[in-house]
């Protein structure tokens, strides 16, 4: 019984012994190295590029500028949520007449070594005419602001509007109306391995590309289109991957440039992004402003919410199209039943790195806004914030529940969930009932402690389909092919457990094959927390079909009905009495003799997403002298329907929390008014270390299985991240609430100690003045 067991990962022994093969680890004969020259300006016209000196440097093989690329080269298309009206804001692999963000590729250099290629890049002379830089969404949408893409007619590139009921009507009936503006800062996934590619033209003329991940089949189609080739002319090979988190694996300018250079040079060309490059070249994410109007009554029941959202999308529309903005508003209502909702989202261009998805896209942002608002409502009414939550939650008997807002082409309909149960679980785990007393006691000792909660609904299992294939090999072991990608999340172990569960063999005998477009016929890939739901179901059903075939043969041999037989512990057993009829090998032999093919494939299609739900709770202590916040206890409860491997689910939640914590306190891509990135190194863009991330208590709930897939699973990948900021912010506000300080309300991220300190100190001054 492998499903549900916390077994060790089959991925690990190679990775632990230095035998992993990441793209930068591959060496091919004659391999050369590429370096990209990037724009130092946020917005400028390119008046001329002189590459002579670079080309004359010994060992330099090639220098390319935008003019050297094919004149009919189209821009990089949208993969998700494509919309024709955005096509004039897409990015070309190399800038032509204009650059629009610091870090935009301007030229490509290939040399025999990386060192020489960098020397050559330094010798390229680019003459720029700087233009005014647009760095703020409000500035960007002003009528007199310079346009990034004049053909679009506006920097307000796209508008999404969705509503349910009449907010204006409901607001008229509400005795209380709250208006707030909240801000989520620009940050991103920052995997420990930067991006990289190695492209090689094989002897038969086919192109092999090592390094793509996430969506290899799809990206192969894009590359084929850009190169004017057939997808079958291209072979993508996914190597080991040092973290995905959203940004990695999308189709970037380099995904065209490196294969193109290899085709021109007929030599293997490798490009490994360096970290400083990564910070300005790879998708940013998250930056949004929310203007919220909330109407509620004296019991804390919220009747109307209007949210006008400004998404800072950066200089170009990248492959995710408008996925993040659409998800932001679609998932904004969270676990609450609100009569009238209206979301208006502007997708706004600025002279900053283009944005894409990052773990919990739209939900990290929306959950911060929504869960802060709940606490603001509670504060206004002087109510227990958990009671305000309780009074607004969707009840289990309302499931399936449609929230009236649509995203990714479908109206959001929660498939199952018990939100009150989550709230009770967290209140109990944190001893909310006894907290008042603990807080008072701490206060007597001069300590400020606070407890905060944040609830959320996640989404998982995006369709339309995934492919799985299961074959029993000559040696009795199993080859399992999947269209999913492995970005470190443990997809091989998960699929091996699913196969093993159906076929009654140890999971260590299952070999998972993925990410190779020659070996795996088709696939959609790993994104949007879809792997276990869609890819897991495909493998489950393929394995089941294979099992049925084998049991049919066994039924004939033992003259028993097939539905009374099962595969367990490497044997065929009779289910009614557990009797062991024959070994797995014996039935394999019988199948082979009878000419039964031991291979099955399944394409699992799914129309609707599944919605896991959860809660985060944080207890913090605030240092009144420094404003520093210490997390004393952190709790996550997450209902994912069913956990294939609880240890891996826990790993996802704890790891996800650490990223959420980075977004709460530390990580920020900050720009100056000229569009220069100020936090482009790990010395100023701070990722949490082991000293900042606390131990986290996780409770995995399997209370609400999804009715939409045969395993009942919902995805576990993003729920650790999305609610950290509001849980911590609510805890800090709770710690400070008896200072009676109305001047501090946490409405923007990251939360800085100096802001908290200042609020505490001002309060102290005010108190002294009152006393005097």
């Amino acid at each position: 019984m492998s499903i549900g067991a916390s077994v060790k990962r089959i991925e690990d022994p190679r990775l632990l012994t230095g035998k992993g093969r990441y793209v930068g680890d591959i060496r091919l004969p004659d391999q050369c190295e590429a370096v990209i020259l990037r724009s130092p300006h946020a917005h400028a016209k390119i008046l001329g590029i002189n590459t002579e000196k670079a080309k004359n440097l010994p060992d330099v093989l090639m220098v390319l500028t935008g003019r050297d690329l094919p004149p009919d080269l189209p821009p990089i298309p949208m993969r998700l949520s494509p919309d024709q009206s955005l096509e004039k804001a897409l990015q070309f692999p190399l800038a032509n007449e204009k650059v629009r963000y610091v870090g935009e590729p301007v030229a490509l250099v290939v040399a025999t070594t990386r060192y020489t290629a960098e020397d050559a890049a330094d010798l390229i002379e680019v003459l720029y005419e700087p233009l005014p830089a647009v760095t703020n969404v409000y500035q960007s949408v002003q009528p007199d602001t310079i346009l990034l893409h004049p053909d679009m007619g506006s920097n307000d590139l796209f508008f999404i509007h969705s509503q349910k009921g009449s907010v204006d009507e409901q607001l008229k009936k509400c005795p209380y109306v709250l208006e707030e503006e909240l801000y989520i800062q620009r940050h991103s996934g920052i995997p420990m391995e930067t991006r990289g590619l190695l492209a090689v033209v094989e002897e038969d003329g086919r192109l092999t590309v090592y390094g793509p991940t996430k969506v290899v089949h799809f990206n192969r189609q894009i590359l084929a289109r850009l190169l004017g080739k057939q997808p079958s002319d291209i072979h993508f090979v996914e190597t080991d991957v040092g973290g995905g988190f959203g940004p990695r694996g999308e189709f970037y300018p380099e995904d065209y440039l490196i294969p193109y250079a290899a085709l021109c040079l007929k030599r293997p060309v490798r490009w490994i992004e360096d970290r400083l490059e990564h910070m300005k070249a790879t998708n940013h994410s998250r930056e949004q402003k929310h203007r919220v109007v909330v109407g509620f009554d004296e019991t804390g029941r919220i009747h109307a919410v209007r949210n006008e959202i400004f998404v800072d999308t950066g200089a170009y529309i990248r492959t995710h199209g408008i996925t993040v903005p659409a998800l932001t508003q679609g998932m904004f209502p969270g676990p609450y039943d609100i009569a009238a909702l209206e979301c208006k989202t502007h997708v706004v261009a600025t002279n900053k790195t283009p944005v894409g998805t990052y773990r919990g896209p739209g939900r990290f942002e929306g959950t911060f806004v929504r869960e802060r608002i709940i606490d603001m409502v509670a504060k206004k009414l002087n109510l227990d914030p958990t009671v305000v939550r309780e009074r607004n939650l969707i009840r289990p008997e309302q499931m399936p529940y449609s929230n009236g807002i649509s995203a990714l082409g479908e109206e959001i309909e929660y498939d199952s969930g018990d939100f009150p149960l989550l709230l009770d679980t967290a209140r109990r785990a944190m001893d909310w009932e006894g907290f008042g007393e603990r807080k008072a006691k701490a206060r007597m000792e001069g300590r400020l402690i606070g407890l905060g909660f944040a609830m959320f609904v996640e989404k998982s299992g995006l369709g339309p389909w995934e492919y799985g294939e299961v074959e029993i090999l000559e040696n009795g072991e199993v080859a399992c092919k999947t269209g999913l990608a492995d970005v470190g999340q443990g997809v091989k172990t998960m699929l091996a457990q699913i196969c093993s569960h159906q076929l009654g063999i140890p999971y260590s005998k299952v070999h998972v094959i993925h990410g190779d477009t020659d070996k795996v016929e088709k696939g959609h890939g790993s994104f949007a927390t879809r792997g276990t739901v869609v890819g897991g179901s495909a493998v489950w059903l393929a394995s089941e079909a294979l099992k049925r075939k084998m049991l049919k043969v066994a039924a004939e041999r033992f003259r028993l009905p097939a539905d009374e037989l099962d595969l367990k512990d490497q044997c065929v057993i009779q289910t009614s009495n557990g009797r062991n009829l024959c070994t797995f090998e014996a039935i394999l032999a019988e199948c082979r003799e009878g000419g039964v093919s031991l291979r099955e494939s399944f394409t699992f299609s799914i129309d609707h997403m599944s919605y896991p739900s959860g809660i985060h709770a944080a207890e913090v202590e605030v240092d009144p002298e420094t404003g520093k916040v210490t997390i004393e206890k952190y709790f996550i409860a997450y209902d994912i329907g069913r956990a294939i491997n609880p240890m891996l689910v826990r790993g996802q939640l704890v790891g996800g929390m650490a990223q959420g914590l980075g977004g709460t306190f530390f990580e920020e891509f900050r720009y100056d008014e000229n569009g220069q990135l100020l936090t482009g190194t790990f010395m100023d863009y701070l990722i949490p270390s082991s000293m900042e991330v606390p131990d986290i208590e996780v409770e995995i709930l399997e209370h609400s299985p999804s009715p939409l897939n045969p395993l009942g699973v919902k995805g576990a990948g993003e729920g650790g991240t999305v609610a950290v900021a509001p849980a911590v912010a609510n805890a800090i506000m709770n710690a400070l609430n008896d200072l009676n300080d109305a001047s501090l309300e946490i409405t923007s991220l990251p939360i800085r100690a100096e802001v908290i300190r200042k609020a505490i100190k001002q309060e102290a001054v005010r108190n002294r003045e009152v006393k005097a």
Binding site: G24, M192, S690
Partner: protein
């Protein structure tokens, strides 16, 4: 780069001596990876923060991205490839990381293992807080560190047991298998 500017470096890695010709500006991380083919040592930031490239040089952990290859002339280096036994038996640290799910993507792992290896030599009986401090020079983006701390704690326990039983036998006890 003309041959005359190349420097000869003799370097012992995981007990094997190598002689390589390198440019003076070549980083130790690039020497290990590109010249010697030891790609277990990873490069995550090239500015000395992330710790993925950590190796032991003459008994002390260094960021191999901040050391020039020529500085490692006549040095003894230990990389992740040198942790397991010659027969492939995992080092107790590696076994504990496997047991406790101390890695996900595995990219930072070699550096974390090397830092933890040195840390446990200096402090064989650490508290959890000391372990957190001991690995704080290594960034991990996947695990949230909790399972890494669990793994180092378990490895310390196993290594301790190994030391105590060493007087009797030299077999390494690297931990139990999880039953499937």
């Amino acid at each position: 780069m003309s041959q005359s500017k190349m420097k000869t470096v003799v370097i012992s890695v995981n007990g094997v001596e190598h002689t390589v010709q390198v440019e003076p500006r070549m980083l130790l991380s690039d020497v290990l990876r590109d010249e010697l083919g030891l790609t277990g040592t990873h490069v995550g930031c090239e500015h000395g923060i992330c710790g993925a490239c950590t190796v032991i040089m003459d008994g002390r952990p260094v960021r191999s991205c901040l050391v020039f290859g020529v500085q490692a002339d006549r040095a003894e280096i230990l990389t992740v490839e040198g942790l397991a036994g010659p027969d492939g038996t995992l080092h107790p640290l590696q076994a504990a990381f496997w047991e406790k799910h101390g890695l996900q993507c595995g990219f930072c792992t070699p550096g974390v293992l090397i830092s933890a290896y040195h840390f446990l030599k200096e402090n064989p009986h650490p508290t959890r807080d000391e372990i957190r401090e001991g690995i704080s020079g290594n960034l991990c983006r996947c695990t949230g560190y909790q399972s890494i701390v669990d793994a180092v704690e378990l490895a310390a326990e196993w290594l301790d047991r190994e030391r105590k039983s060493k007087s009797g036998s030299s077999t390494a006890q690297t931990g139990k298998e999880v039953n499937v």
